[in-house]
Symmetry: C2
């Protein structure tokens, strides 16, 4: 979980993940599309790989990276425990009650 969030918290890495969503890519292509130096891409891919967010498949001279969905699924599960907070609309009710209280305390709106 933490490794996943840490990996995704870096803008370039997030971008790489979004790029790989459309299919596997070799390192060079990623570097080209993101306008990054190849070494930086390799380093970012290493972090993503350590976090389990990408997998590699060697192909001749190149290494094809592809997205691994497991960590994203875990993130999804984690989010699920919060989902009812906005689906059940309990927060909207709370906001509404606060709004009422605010209006009664200060009749002059904003």
């Amino acid at each position: 979980m933490n490794a996943t969030l840490t990996a995704l918290a870096e803008p370039h890495r997030l971008h790489i993940v979004e790029l790989l969503r459309h299919g596997p890519l070799p390192v060079g292509d990623i570097a080209d599309r993101l306008h990054l130096q190849q070494p930086q891409v390799s380093k970012h891919l290493r972090v993503l790989h350590d976090a389990g967010l990408v997998g590699v498949q060697p192909a001749a001279n190149r290494r094809i990276y592809k997205l691994e969905t497991r960590p994203l699924q875990e993130l999804d599960v984690w989010l699920d425990s919060f989902r009812r907070l906005w689906e059940n609309r309990f927060d909207q009710l709370e906001d509404y009650l606060q709004e009422l209280q605010r209006k009664s305390a200060e009749p002059n709106g904003d």
Copy 2:
């Protein structure tokens, strides 16, 4: 998005968010339950607040922090674009095809 991920990538802050999932809390209570110094909690809350992940409501001497679900909803929406990758099982098919290729290339299975 990036602010959200950056904020959640810190273990203590993630813990605070999980704590606030069960309801609003004043700073002191958070510090107690997480065994953290109050100043550190205030600083983490500042980051969470800047990211829109928490809101504050002053109450007398104290400041009650509560979870804001908007950023988590955005994260949910972002995840949604990846969800079909594991729901449609295209990746499993890909794994299966790779497995076949691996076996035919090396008959002696590891």
